[in-house]
C-alpha cells in the first residue's frame, strides 16, 4: 500500500517527532556558490562538515561562459566556494574541471545521483534528480547549514500527488510542453504541499533527459518534489557512470531499486491525468509559468476575464509589452537562449540542432550547454557547428542567462525565447521579457524571428 514517496521517505527517516516532523538522512548534499551564507553560519558556530565525502561542490550560478568572470564580485563568489569546500575537505567541480556544469546536470551525469537516494541542494530545481527515482528537494541556506553540520534535514512528509500521462507525444512535442501544460491547468501553486510522482506510458516513454526536464519543472507548479519510479531506462542510464556503484555493489543496488516502484494499490491524496497526444507545443505569454498556452492560441484578453483574473493578466501584458488577443505566433523576439538545468542536456541540444541544421537564425542567440561533458559530447557530434552556422553563440557551461548572475543577461525591454524555467519579471535581467518553451520551439523562433509552431519546420526531418 506504499507509494514511491513512502518507500523513499521510510528508508531515510531516522526519527519522527510527535508533531509529525521527520529527521531524514541525506545521502548527497550538493553545494554551489550561493551556499556562502550557510558556510558562514557554520563558521560562526565553529562547526565542521559532518560528512565531507557525501558533499560535492559545483560552480554553476556564477560560472563564466565566455572566458574570465565578468566582474570581481562574480570571481569572488567562485573563489569563496572553492575555499569553503577546500577547507572542509569537500570535492569541488570548479572552472577548468571537466566535470563542471550545472549542478542538476552534473549530479546525474557523474553518477552522484542514484535511484533510492535522498538528495538536497540549496536550489529549488533539485527536484530534477527525482527523475531517477530519488527523493530530491531544494532547501534554503539555514537548512544547508544544518545539513552541512549534521548530514540530516527536518522535513514534514508532503502529501502524495500523481500525474498520469498516457498516450504518445506528437513529433516536436515533449517533456517541456507536458510540464507547462499541467502547470497552466493547475496553476503555479497547484501542487503546493505535495510531492509529485509522474507516471503513465508517455512518462515511461521519455528518455532520462526528458524525465529530468519534467521533474525539474515540478517547482514551477508549486511542488518541491518531483519523481519517477526507476525502470530499465533509469538503470541503463546510471550504469557505468563515474560515481555509480559497480560489481557486487551494483547488483545489490539494482535489486534495491527494483523494489522502489509504488505498490499497485497505493493511494494518492490527489491525482491528475493527461493525454500526451492532445498536448501541442506550448509557450508562455506572461510573468508566471502558469501563463502558458499552445502556440496556436492568442494572447489572453483581460476584458473577457473575471476582474479577479484580469488584474494579473493586465499587469503581465503590460510588463511583457503584448496586445490582448494578438496571435502568439505574431510576437516578435529579439534574441534566443538555449540553456539551463531544465533544457541543456545533450538531447535538448540535439532537438534544437535538428531544427536549426542548414538554416540561419534571424535573431542573435546564446547556447550554453548544461555541463562541460555535454559540451564535449555535442562538439563530438558536430552540434556546435550547426549552432555556429545558424549564427548562434556557442558558449561555456553554467546557469548563464537563465538566472543572469554571471553577467549573461537580457537587456531591459528585450524579448527572449528561452528554454529556461522562469519567466518572472527581471529574471533574465531587469526589464527582460522571457517566453518559456522547448529547445525545438526556441530554435523555430530563432529561424523566423517570432514565436513559431515548430511542427511544420520539422517536416521531412528527424525530430531528434
Amino acid at each position: 500500500m506504499r507509494t514511491l514517496l513512502d518507500k523513499l521517505w521510510d528508508s531515510h527517516e531516522i526519527l519522527r517527532r510527535d508533531n509529525g516532523a521527520s529527521l531524514l538522512w541525506v545521502d548527497r548534499h550538493l553545494v554551489h556558490e550561493g551556499s556562502h551564507h550557510a558556510f558562514a553560519k557554520l563558521a560562526e558556530r565553529g562547526l565542521n562538515v559532518a560528512e565531507p565525502s557525501l558533499t560535492y561542490g559545483v560552480v554553476d550560478h556564477y560560472a563564466p561562459t565566455r572566458g574570465a568572470p565578468a566582474s570581481p564580485a562574480i570571481a569572488r563568489m567562485i573563489e569563496t566556494l572553492k575555499s569553503n569546500t577546500q577547507s572542509h575537505g569537500i570535492a569541488c567541480f570548479g572552472p577548468g574541471d571537466p566535470r563542471q556544469g550545472i549542478v542538476h546536470v552534473v549530479g546525474p551525469e557523474q553518477g552522484l545521483t542514484l535511484p533510492g537516494l535522498l538528495i538536497v541542494c540549496g536550489d529549488s530545481h533539485t527536484s530534477t534528480h527525482g527523475a531517477l527515482g530519488a527523493l530530491a528537494f531544494g532547501i534554503g541556506a539555514t537548512e544547508v547549514a544544518h545539513v552541512l553540520a549534521t548530514q540530516t534535514v527536518w522535513q514534514k512528509r508532503p502529501k502524495a500527488m500523481r500525474i498520469v500521462v498516457e498516450g504518445r507525444f506528437a513529433p516536436g512535442v515533449g517533456a517541456k510542453d507536458l510540464a507547462l501544460a499541467w502547470i497552466a491547468r493547475l496553476g503555479a501553486d497547484g501542487a503546493r504541499g505535495h510531492a509529485i510522482e509522474y507516471a503513465g506510458a508517455a512518462v515511461r516513454g521519455l528518455s532520462m533527459e526528458g524525465r529530468m526536464t519534467l521533474c525539474n519543472l515540478s517547482i514551477e507548479g508549486g511542488g518541491r518534489f518531483g519523481m519517477i519510479a526507476p525502470d530499465e531506462t533509469t538503470i541503463a542510464y546510471v550504469a557505468g557512470r563515474p560515481f555509480a556503484p559497480s560489481g557486487a555493489s551494483w547488483e545489490r543496488a539494482v535489486e534495491s531499486w527494483s523494489a522502489l516502484a509504488g505498490d499497485a494499490d497505493a493511494r494518492f491524496d490527489r491525482e491528475m491525468s493527461l493525454e500526451a497526444s492532445e498536448i501541442a507545443p506550448i509557450v508562455t505569454w506572461g510573468t508566471s509559468p502558469e501563463d502558458a498556452l499552445p502556440i496556436t492560441a492568442a494572447v489572453p484578453d483581460p476584458a473577457r476575464l473575471s476582474e479577479d483574473k484580469a488584474i494579473h493578466v493586465r499587469d503581465a501584458l503590460d510588463y511583457m509589452g503584448l496586445i490582448p488577443g494578438q496571435p502568439l505566433q505574431s510576437v516578435r523576439v529579439d534574441q534566443v537562449f538555449i540553456g539551463s538545468c531544465t533544457n541543456a542536456r545533450i538531447e535538448d541540444l540535439r532537438a534544437a540542432a535538428a531544427v536549426l541544421a542548414g538554416r540561419r537564425a534571424k535573431v542573435p542567440g546564446l547556447v550554453s550547454p548544461g555541463s562541460r561533458a555535454v559540451k564535449a559530447r555535442a562538439e563530438a557530434e558536430g552540434l556546435d557547428r550547426i549552432f555556429a552556422e545558424a549564427g548562434l553563440d556557442w558558449a561555456g557551461a553554467g546557469c548563464s542567462m537563465c538566472v543572469a548572475m554571471n553577467g549573461d543577461s537580457v537587456a531591459p525591454g528585450r524579448r527572449c525565447a528561452s528554454t529556461t524555467n522562469r519567466n518572472f519579471r527581471g529574471r533574465q535581467g531587469r526589464g527582460a521579457r522571457t517566453h518559456l518553451m522547448s529547445p525545438a520551439m526556441v530554435a523555430a523562433a530563432a529561424i523566423t524571428g517570432h514565436l513559431t509552431d515548430v511542427r511544420p519546420l520539422l517536416e521531412g526531418r528527424d525530430a531528434a
Binding site: I14, F243, S288, V403
Partner: protein
Amino acid sequence: MSGWTRHTGTAIALDLESVDTDQLIPARFMSTPRSEGYGQFLLHDLRRDTDGTMRPEVPLNRWPEASVLVTRRNFGSGSSREAAVYALVDFGIRTVIAPSFGDIFASNAVNNGVLPARVAPDLTAEMIARIGAGAVPAEVDLAARTLSVAGLSTGFDLDPVWREKLINGWDDIDLTRAHGTEIAAFRDRLSATRTWAFPAGGTAG
C-alpha cells in the same frame, strides 16, 4: 533566532499575485555579504526607477515602519534563495499574510522568525482594499493563531511544527545534535546494508 508569540505593528498592502523570490531580491544583489543589510534590496526593482530613484507611490517606500505585509496568492514562489527572507527581515517585516506561499519560501521564513500566515483569498482581498496605499495597525497572536488587520480579525493557517518553532525560536542544529546517537546508529546501519548508497571512491565506513 529568538521566539515570539505576539506582534503589534503596522500593515501595508502589496496588491500583486505571485510575487516570486526573484522580485523579492533580484539575483544581482546576492553576492553582497549579509552584514551590509538586505533591506535596501527588498523588491528593489518595484521600489526604484531604473536610475535608482525611490518611487514615492510605493507603500514600502512610504511606510518604512511596516512590519506586516498583506498580499495575494503564491507569494515567495520560485527560487529557494533565503536572501528573499533576509531582505524582508532586514526591512523589518515580521509577518506576511497571503492565501498561499511557495513551500521553500515559507520554510525559509520560519527559519528566520517570519510568519507566513495563510488567510483565505476573499479576506486578504478585503484587507488589501481597506489598506489601499495606506498603513494600518496590525496584531498577530501566534499562540491563538489569530490576527487582526484594518479592523478585520481572523484565524490563519500555519503548520503546527512551524508555529512551535516560531514561538520557541529553536535552533535546529542544537535540536538535531541532541539526537547524535540515533543519527550515528542510522549511519552504521546504512553503511552495513546499503554500501551502494555511498559514492564509489568515497568512504562507506
